[in-house]
């Protein structure tokens, strides 16, 4: 069943969109991430213009994140204070991101910018996560061999690193932290830039940053990340809707419907897997996307030319 998308102005198979939404929803349910980093490249791959893919991807992330956040609010695993600090940074970042996106669009390098950011970010984070979870799995095996009596060694939290020395200290009770507000603010800025320019929620960046840079209590990390991701992506959706009218509601609805169903199944699968296994799988997924996009940059394209219509008549 073909559906004509009113903003993207292309006709796409509706079941394909439901499938993409469902597939990404499944993965986001399993791994507890929004899935924007998968949905935006996939949309571009099936012929949705990059601008529409970024803006509509952000809209889909809002839905996925709200769904996840509800669960965390019920379990009281959201640090609203930390989330708010990240959020303030996120708003600054979003504006920078939208500005950067406009500049790149004017220079005709949107595609390169988006691709390059993906490869760099996802390559780095994928590798870091892979390394960390690989070590965790080896450690778990070692502990099992040592016998049930041996206490599992917790990874060293950076409780007393450079973050402690910065001014403007604040108490984050839920996270169990007393640190400067500057690092979380800066993390917020980075995520804001990314979500506005790449259509991603930034969950896969903010979660490791909260664990390894801020040393937050891992129990509240995902919920807090979802809390701030909702606002940052919602802001990005509004900004794109107003600045470039590039949010395609029909496309978003199909992705969301698919995503909602997928996320339910994904969460059930996710509960049966071990945390280290989940992380290593997510790392491999992130790396696979990075490699795919990286290859597109390096391999000589079959068609060197591209055509872009400038504005409507």
């Amino acid at each position: 069943m073909q559906i004509y998308l009113p903003i993207a102005e292309v006709s796409v198979n509706a079941f394909l969109l439901l499938g993409i939404g469902g597939g990404v929803g499944l993965l986001s349910g399993i791994f507890g991430v929004g899935g924007g980093f998968l949905i935006t490249p996939l949309l571009m791959f099936i012929g949705i213009p990059p601008g529409v893919a970024v803006a509509t991807g952000a809209n889909q992330v809002v839905a996925a994140s709200v769904s996840g956040l509800m669960v965390h609010i019920r379990r009281r695993t959201v640090d609203f204070k930390m989330g708010t600090v990240l959020l303030v940074g996120g708003f600054f970042g979003s504006n920078i991101g939208i500005l950067v996106f406009e500049l790149m669009k004017r220079a005709g390098q949107t595609e390169l910018f988006v691709q390059f950011s993906y490869v760099f970010l996802m390559g780095t984070i994928g590798l870091m996560m892979f390394q960390e979870s690989f070590r965790a799995i080896r450690r778990a095996r070692g502990a099992a061999r040592a016998g049930p009596g041996a206490a599992p060694r917790r990874p060293q939290m950076h409780r007393h690193n450079w973050v402690q020395r910065w001014p403007l200290k604040m108490k984050f009770r839920t996270s169990g932290l007393y640190i400067s507000v500057i690092p979380p603010f800066l993390i917020g800025v980075c995520v804001g830039v990314l979500s506005a320019a790449m259509g991603i929620g930034g969950g896969f960046i903010v979660v490791p940053a909260m664990i390894y840079i801020l040393g937050m209590n891992t129990r509240v990390v995902v919920g807090t990340s979802l809390f701030q991701v909702i606002f940052v992506t919602a802001y990005a959706v509004m900004a794109h809707a107003i600045a470039s009218q590039s949010v395609d509601m029909a496309l978003a609805v199909l992705l969301i419907v698919g995503g909602v169903v997928g996320a339910q199944i994904g969460t059930m699968i996710g509960m049966r897997l071990k945390a280290e296994q989940l992380r290593i799988l997510l790392a491999l997924l992130v790396l696979a996307v990075a490699v795919k996009i990286g290859l597109d940059l390096v391999i000589r394209p079959a068609e060197l030319y591209s055509v872009r219509s400038i504005g409507h008549p």
């Binding site: 903003i7 809002v62 839905a63 769904s67 919602a234 809707a241 107003i242 060197l304 219509s309």
Partner: protein
């Protein structure tokens, strides 16, 4: 017998035309097109997956048809917009856009249907005058000053749009009955953009255009498509909020349904 004489007669006429030409041009054309379209408006609905339009017409003439027989060219042209054509180049092993050219006006859609190979039935002069062939439908002023090989950029534009089914030359797609009635069916792709489309019909004889006719076809989104598009354009803030409300409600419903499901 008559048929054998006709070419001879035509030859005699052709020899006379240099003298008669100024007078003939001044007079009303002896052959005119009476045109029709299967539809004057094409609606893009949510389930739009391409369409086709039948362009037909009849030749109205005062005298019996002259020789050689008439040929027909039908074109359908979409709204013209500026486009940017970019070319990727190898920069330190990465394939990135290194050169780009802005083409002033290129039609979003352009199809030509003819009754015989275009080169045989249309002279270059009349092609230039009426801008019929695909390269001439693109206004390329200024491209030469932006890039060193403008032809390659324009060729790429045509190649890409031909591949997407947006530009098309269909030779032999026009059928002519009794030198009087003609018709052509043009296919419209699924990735059609809305706007005012122009259908043109040309009668040619000996490569010269002897009569032409123009009709407008309006392509517009209807129903939900139109409503969403206009809301996005005219009230972007409201549109953005609505998108967010849908996302939030869907997310909340999913979570609630999931909880109910687990119980």
């Amino acid at each position: 017998m008559m048929r054998r004489l006709l070419p001879l007669l035509a030859l005699c006429l052709a020899m006379l035309t240099p003298l008669a030409a100024p007078a003939a041009d001044a007079a009303a054309p002896s052959e005119q097109i009476v045109a029709g379209l299967s539809q004057e408006q094409i609606s893009i609905t949510a389930s739009f997956s391409g369409s086709s339009i039948l362009i037909f017409g009849a030749v109205k003439r005062d005298a019996p048809p002259a020789q050689p027989p008439l040929q027909v060219i039908v074109t359908l042209q979409g709204p013209r917009t500026p486009v940017q054509v970019s070319r990727k180049g190898d920069v330190f092993g990465l394939w990135i856009n290194t050169a780009s050219a802005k083409v002033t006006e290129a039609p979003a859609y352009y199809a030509i249907a003819t009754s015989a190979p275009l080169a045989q039935i249309l002279s270059h002069t009349d092609d230039l005058r009426y801008r019929i062939s695909i390269p001439l439908a693109i206004r390329e002023t200024g491209v030469a000053s932006q890039v060193s090989e403008p032809r390659a950029f324009l060729d790429a534009l045509i190649r890409i749009r031909e591949r997407d089914g947006l530009y098309k030359l269909d030779e032999g797609a026009v059928t002519i009955d009794q030198s009087t009635l003609f018709r052509a069916r043009l296919n419209l792709p699924a990735n059609l953009t809305e706007g005012l489309y122009t259908a043109r019909m040309f009668l040619t004889r000996d490569g010269k255009v002897v009569a032409s006719q123009k009709t407008d076809v309006r392509v517009r989104k209807t129903g939900v498509e139109r409503w969403l598009y206009q809301l996005a354009q005219n009230q972007p803030a409201l549109y953005g909020l609505l998108s967010l409300v849908i996302a939030i409600v869907a997310g909340w419903l999913a979570s609630a349904a999931f909880r109910a499901f687990r119980r």
